[in-house]
């Protein structure tokens, strides 16, 4: 293979070695083959005791990608973090980690980071020393005379308290601002229960889950935690009553697509629906909530557009389940009346007796001060009351709608300081940049909820010339003196440690234990609440404008508030719902598209009273006809090379904000066609299964009876589906034995396929999988998969070894639309079609049941990909490895996995590197491999615990147990390739739509 001599990506490749770096240095004579490069071996001066070359060291830390505060395990090789995984001990995420959390690593090594302190002089940035930068800040704060404001995006913890103390000592004020802050949820709780907090939701205990637009599987609150619990409650486990999930919102988000019923209600009408449901529930159970506004089912039906029967049926189902759970407060349902909706849902939960059961107060999940506080500060800044503003890990210039004129207000502040990690829009508008350490580079903590304190520790020497924000504050205080002189700690590390030792008993032992476990975890005390108010306005809030569509911007599950936009892993990982990569898009329903005569990819001009944007159309069946939806998070003017100028920012369409939160659903828009066209860079192929039986499903009753798919189809009256004819089966007799026992004619076995071997296999439970795509990012991170960018995705050249297919079912003749998600990776077929067609034996079968791909043998004929029925082989057309890992992103590369060169076919290996390492460790410890020793990257990350992996020759293995489920099937079983991946059919809480009929035919 040409790899060896290709220059570039020096640290990349197979190993960083026991070397700090390998450089191709000048002409030093070398014995032996003269074509080899001269490499230098540079030893450590003093080797760290916890770093052994070639062996990963794991550090516990805490994720800061959203306010949930999941626990991390950071895999460090030779001093560089190479993978983030969930901390199994952590009470919030229990070992799982979402795509955004994993991409935190690309935040650490992001080329868009601010690399050194800089000051703006005459409009240009000039690098300065830390001492000068801090002296400048100290001088400005001294001169500001208390006219100081701080905007921070940091989570609640020791730092945020310190920042509060520091700022008030300097006479200023702090606004803790986090976008998507769930202000309506808190306001409603304050009103109805007298507690201004976000409660803990127990999805696992709920027997019936109703979501009023709360996207709890993607962006609402602590989504990884909710997803773990949701999969337990809603996934199918024999002998356990599975929860039903109903979703009310104008648009089916990922959460909506996982619901058993999605009802497309009129935007803003959910409040009356919740109240009507509460009324029916009280009627059925015979209770009452004094003072609760009464909304009749008929009124609710009129408001929502649902039928009265549907509302009554769902309300009665909800009333019959106990405990149940109703949630509200998602971005896509955040109208100006969102607080009313949340209050109505509070009453519904209260009436159902869920408060204290599945809705538990006392945990007080972390949140900021809300948008109202930022808006108030913005007004002060505009009126010249602020001399110095310090923005810390927040990007309000981007996340506040343009109409709020935050940027203009900020511009009126004479001296603006940013401690941003990345050169974002707010940093660009500053005068002084004091770049912070990334969370993996510094000491810090996070009090994500009462009782849960997560710790962070530096796991590498800082990538750039940055400083911990705590140290910036301490040094500035010591330089400025005066009222700040009391902050005299020698370093932020000292201060954090002493704060912890004062907070928890146990001294040094406690500290070390907390570091090892990732923090201190206690259960929050559940606080009983009483009804303080039943005041709810059921009427929907008025929308601004006269357009024919209601604009529904929603939080993107990958980009979140925009911070993920500069991370190629998140941009390349298709949106779980639309499967679009890299671009912005406008979703409109098939009805609306037909009416406007719009086809996918046509550029639409969307105009609101406050502005207009243009983006390509995507026709999405999970949407009301009078609504258009758009994902937030793109349209950056700064932030880095992968984000700048990509897509559009739909916040530009929103109006000024008067309340305490941004009413994302508040304007009506006009949609016009333009002559322009831009092909949508999506990875979805045919959206229908066309009777191929790829994503199978069966009704709940059949699953409970333990029927197989075949029996289920028969019981449902579908014609029997013959997989193999008896003659085919006869022909198969002994085929495997014939293959594995081949001899070379001299009595020698070819290879050693007959000895004792593992037989690796995987099972994927589609009743648990939500399609969230965390596994996809895990696969990119573990296997050094190169992202290819928009233009290559448009040519179908994405390299995602693991992808999530999303197929539509139904949707015709009044049938509800249903999404089926299938994680598709190499199936490691026993009778693999790719293997015999490889002219150079690069694709071959290993003794332990893997479909091996030997990169150095591969000559790139691509016959194997042509012959793969699952299309899971990916060809490296253009040396993607050279483009995908620009400095310092290359530091993330997993040294255990070859970085593939151009012209080589690659695909899922079942994480063979993890298998081999586990085998090596077992051998060194003189023991056999145990079940659970090998955990693939996708399995590890999965927040639904849908994936099981193990040795099928081990009779006690977990994977074998799952594979024995009657719901098990193989994709494309009839072609007899004998996949090693078994899928467990999705379980429907209604009759399955016959996949071979209706939907499929009409597509032809």
């Amino acid at each position: 293979m040409s790899d060896e001599r290709e220059p570039s990506s020096d640290v990349s490749r197979r190993r960083f070695l026991a070397v700090l770096g390998t450089t191709s240095a000048g002409a030093v004579a070398l014995s032996g083959c003269s074509t080899e490069r001269v490499e230098k071996l540079i030893p450590y001066l003093v080797q760290s005791e916890d770093q052994v070359p070639g062996i990963p060291t794991w550090y516990a830390s805490t994720c800061t990608e959203c306010s949930a505060g999941c626990g991390l395990h950071v895999r460090v090789r030779e001093g560089r973090p190479v993978k983030l995984e969930g901390n199994p001990e952590h009470p919030i995420n229990k070992g799982a980690l979402c795509a955004r959390g994993q991409a935190g690593l690309q935040g650490l090594y992001n080329p868009g980071r601010v690399r050194a302190p800089m000051v703006k002089q005459g409009g240009a940035w000039k690098e300065i020393s830390w001492d000068d930068a801090i002296a400048l800040l100290a001088q400005k704060i001294g001169a500001a005379g208390g006219k100081l404001a701080v905007i921070t995006g940091a989570g609640r913890g020791t730092f945020s308290s310190f920042l509060g103390d520091w700022t008030s000592a300097a006479g200023g004020r702090v606004v803790r601002y986090q976008p998507f802050d769930l202000e309506p949820v808190r306001a409603a709780n304050a009103r109805v229960f007298g507690r201004d907090e976000i409660p803990a939701y127990d999805f696992a205990a709920a027997k019936y889950i109703v979501s009023f637009g709360a996207d709890f599987l993607e962006t609402f609150g602590s989504s990884t935690e909710y997803q773990l619990a949701y999969a337990d409650a809603h996934g199918f486990t024999p002998g356990r009553e599975a929860a039903k999930h109903v979703y009310f919102a104008p648009r089916a988000s990922l959460t909506g697509l996982n619901a058993d019923e999605w009802h497309a209600v009129v935007p803003g009408s959910e409040t009356s629906l919740a109240l009507a449901m509460a009324g029916v529930l009280l009627q059925q159970r015979g209770g009452s909530v004094p003072g609760m506004p009464s909304v009749s089912v008929d009124d609710a039906a009129k408001a929502t557009g649902l039928s009265a029967e549907t509302i009554t049926r769902l309300a009665k189902e909800f009333a019959s389940a106990s405990p149940s759970l109703a949630v509200a407060g998602g971005i896509g349902s955040q109208t100006a009346g969102a607080t009313e909706l949340c209050a109505a849902v509070n009453l519904l939960n209260f009436a159902a007796g869920n408060v204290g059961q599945t809705v538990r107060f006392g945990a007080d999940l972390d949140h900021g001060d809300g948008f109202g506080a930022l808006e108030a500060l913005s007004k002060s800044m505009a009126s010249g009351e602020v001399e110095v503003v310090l923005v810390q890990e927040a990007n309000p210039v981007f996340t506040a709608p343009r109409a709020t004129k935050f940027a203009e207000s900020l511009g009126k502040v004479p001296f603006k300081v940013s401690t941003a990690l990345y050169f974002d829009e707010t940093a660009a508008a500053s005068d002084l940049l004091l770049p912070s350490h990334h969370a993996l580079e510094r000491w810090d903590d996070l009090n994500a909820r009462n009782g849960v304190w997560g710790l962070m520790q530096p796991v590498l020497t800082p990538v750039f010339n940055t400083m911990a924000p705590g140290d910036i504050l301490l040094k500035t205080a010591q330089k400025a003196g005066g009222s700040l002189a009391k902050f005299s700690a020698a370093s932020w590390e000292d201060q954090l440690k002493s704060t912890w030792q004062a907070r928890f008993p146990g001294g040094d032992a406690m500290w070390r234990a907390a570091l090892a476990r990732g923090g201190v975890y206690q259960d929050a005390v559940v606080v009983p609440v009483t009804l303080a108010s039943t005041d709810v306005t059921a009427a929907a809030a008025a929308l601004e404008g006269t357009g024919e569509f209601t604009l529904l911007p929603y939080a993107s599950s990958h980009y979140f508030d925009g911070r993920g936009a500069n991370r190629p892993w998140l941009a390349e990982n298709p949106d779980p719902v639309t499967k679009i990569t890299w671009q912005s898009w406008v979703e409109l329903s098939p009805e609306a598209a037909a009416r406007l005569n719009v086809r996918e990819g046509e550029i639409l001009k969307v105009t609101s009273p406050h502005g207009s944007v243009e983006a390509a159309a995507y026709i999405y069946p999970g949407l009301r006809a009078d609504v258009i939806a758009m994902p937030l998070g793109l349209g950056h003017t700064e932030l880095g090379e992968f984000a700048k100028g990509r897509g559009v920012n739909y916040l530009d369409l929103l109006g000024p904000v008067s309340g305490a939160f941004i009413p994302y659903v508040s304007v009506k828009v006009q949609v016009e066609r333009t002559p322009a066209y831009r092909k949508v860079a999506k990875t979805e192929g045919n959206t229908r299964q066309l009777g191929r039986g790829i994503a199978e499903a069966m009704p709940l009753v059949h699953a409970e009876q333990g029927l197989t798919l075949e029996q289920s189809a028969k019981a449902a009256g579908h014609p029997a589906h013959e997989i193999n004819t008896p003659r085919e089966l006869e022909a198969l007799q002994g085929w495997r034995e014939g293959q594995v026992g081949r001899e070379d004619g001299q009595g020698r076995r070819l290879g050693n396929y007959v000895g004792e071997h593992a037989m690796w296999g995987m099972a994927v439970d589609l009743s648990r999988c939500t399609g969230c795509s965390a596994c996809v990012t895990a696969c990119y991170a573990e296997n050094n998969i190169a992202w290819v960018g928009e233009d290559q995705v448009l040519r179908g050249r994405e390299m995602s070894w693991m992808r999530i297919e999303r197929y539509w079912e139904g949707g015709f003749d009044g049938e509800p639309i249903e999404a089926r998600f299938v994680p598709l990776m190499c199936q490691h077929c026993d009778n693999a079609p790719c293997e015999p067609v490889c002219p150079v034996y690069a694709a071959y079968h290993t003794p332990d049941g893997l479909n091996g791909q030997v990169y150095n043998r591969c000559v790139g004929t691509r016959y194997c990909a042509n012959n793969c029925p699952y299309k899971v082989r990916y060809f490296n057309w253009l040396a993607y490895n050279k483009k995908a890992f620009p400095e310092p992103l290359n530091l993330q590369l997993n040294p255990d996995v070859t970085v593939r060169a151009r012209g080589v076919m690659e695909k899922c290996t079942f994480c063979v590197q993890r298998i081999r390492v586990a085998q090596h460790v077992a051998k060194l410890e003189d023991r056999a491999l145990r079940d659970g020793d090998v955990v693939t990257a996708c399995q590890q990350a999965c927040p639904s615990r849908a994936i099981t992996f193990g040795d099928m020759h081990d009779p006690g293995s977990a994977v074998l147990k799952v594979k024995e489920s009657p719901r098990g099937y193989h994709i494309l079983e009839e072609i007899n390739v004998r996949p090693a991946v078994t899928y467990l059919a999705k379980v429907l809480r209604r009759e399955p739509v016959a996949h071979a009929a209706a939907g499929g035919e009409e597509q032809h």
Binding site: S31, V52, G54, Q913, R916
Partner: protein, 192 residues
Amino acid sequence: MRKSAWITLAACAAAIIAIAAAGRPSGAQQPSGPVGVVLTASDSAAFKGPRQPVYFRHDVHSGQYKISCQYCHYSAAVSNEPGIPSMQTCMGCHLIIGGADSANQLQIALVRESWNTKKPIEWVRVHSLARHVHFPHSQHIKAMGPNACATCHGDVSRMPQVYKVNNINNMGWCINCHLARNVNRDCTACHY
């Protein structure tokens, strides 16, 4: 963990005593090998193998003083990677041992200088595998014992300057051995 052992006083003392017992180090006392005289750095060009920035003599350390390979290359037995000894490992002994004659003193002074100026010595790599091959050192030591190193690296205890004895980057070299011992020849044992 175990690494701290090799910088303990006990280990140093043992090594120093061993060297002291061996008497004055000089080329003349080496076991039979290609070396017969005391060599200086400038001479080492005459030997096989790339010249190193410091004329580190495996024949003295490993051959004459019988220091085990894994005293310095400690991670070879526990990890895929053999590692390269840290400067601290060198200084564990050479803080005290300064060399008996001017030629040795000169070289040891280079080591001390590197330590004092915190600039690690940049060794020239002799054995290097293609990046699509994974060679687990620990498995081979586990299977063949602690003295298995010479199988691939040659008898470095007789090399004043290390050179490549076997073409380890040729897959046939690996496979011949695996055939002879009838052990795993699966491609994905090494290539992934």
